[in-house]
């Protein structure tokens, strides 16, 4: 990295980034959607694969290495690598407090996968939870994705 750009701890944002538009492009919404979709799909693949593995004790930790080659777990790892790449990309142009709530829609995807794919029962509490998360996501996604560093600046959006 260029030394003039080297970050201090909790580095100052470059002026170029400060001037960046706070409204997202369509491709950036696609990246956020991929974050929300890849994480639950990856976790589901891992869970499905681990359920088919014999139980692993801490006495034989190397058995975890062989688990990596299980097709479902390998698929899960690929999905999670996609998730992490998209997550890092999103963090490069949006605030952490924007990315985390917007991609919380993944919890809803997990619940819906459970209901319609694994035929799990969803209680009235869970539906209420799903509605609250959707409201929270819609709420924050309408706001600016990147805020100035000066905390006392008025937000106009």
């Amino acid at each position: 990295m260029d030394s003039s750009q080297s970050p201090s701890l909790f580095g100052t944002r470059s002026s170029k980034l400060k001037a960046a538009s706070t409204r997202l492009k369509l491709s950036q919404y696609v990246v956020l959607a991929l974050v929300a979709i890849c994480a639950p799909l990856g976790d589901s693949c891992l869970a499905r694969g681990m359920r088919q593995m014999p139980s692993i004790s801490l006495d034989h930790p190397l058995a975890l290495v062989s688990a990596v080659f299980h097709p479902w777990i390998a698929a899960g790892i690929v999905m999670l690598i996609c998730f992490f790449a998209c997550y890092l990309t999103a963090l490069s142009w949006a605030d952490l407090t924007y990315v985390l709530p917007t991609t919380a829609f993944g919890y809803v995807i997990i619940a819906l996968l459970g209901r319609f794919w694994l035929h799990e029962e969803i209680s009235i509490y869970r539906w209420a939870g799903i509605i609250l998360i959707t409201l929270g996501v819609g709420f924050v996604a309408q706001g600016p994705s990147l805020t100035e560093q000066t905390p006392d600046r008025e937000l106009t959006s």
Binding site: M1, S14, S92, Y107
Partner: protein, 136 residues
């Protein structure tokens, strides 16, 4: 009963809280460090347009803050695995996730100087309650 799911035998509420808090704190530190790294690097889309995918990957892999963040995230992952060994999935995962959202909002305001306005606080709290309800 505050907790949505009964604890397995031999696990005290304090031990459960300690395990969940460890996950929340380490993942918050990891996420804040990773976010700080990505903010210091700049817009990855622009870097890719300028110097290609290799340039974008190089920009990330030459940032020490990024590796520090990933180390904390890895610790949080193993702390979650440990917690899952002792607690029910339906308690540990949503509790840790919702707690992390709130601690992240506080940490982002303090350390990343993000402007966490009322809209984002409301969203964090709504998602937090929503994840708690999902555990039922």
């Amino acid at each position: 009963m505050i907790l949505p799911v009964a604890l397995p035998q031999g696990v005290s509420p304090w031990l459960a809280a300690a395990m969940i808090a460890t996950v929340a704190i380490t993942s918050t530190i990891g996420e804040v460090l990773t976010a700080a790294a990505m903010k210091s690097i700049g817009d990855l889309d622009e870097i890719r347009a300028h110097s290609g995918l290799k340039g974008a990957i190089r920009a990330v892999l030459t940032c020490p803050l990024f590796f520090l963040g990933v180390a904390f995230l890895a610790f949080a992952f193993f702390a979650l695995l440990f917690a899952l060994n002792h607690l029910n999935l339906s308690l540990a995962a949503p509790a840790a996730a919702s707690l992390t959202l709130v601690t992240n909002a506080i940490a982002a305001k303090l350390f990343l100087k993000e402007n966490v306005d009322r809209r984002r606080w409301t969203a964090a709290v709504l998602v937090c309650i929503g994840v708690y309800l999902l555990a039922h």
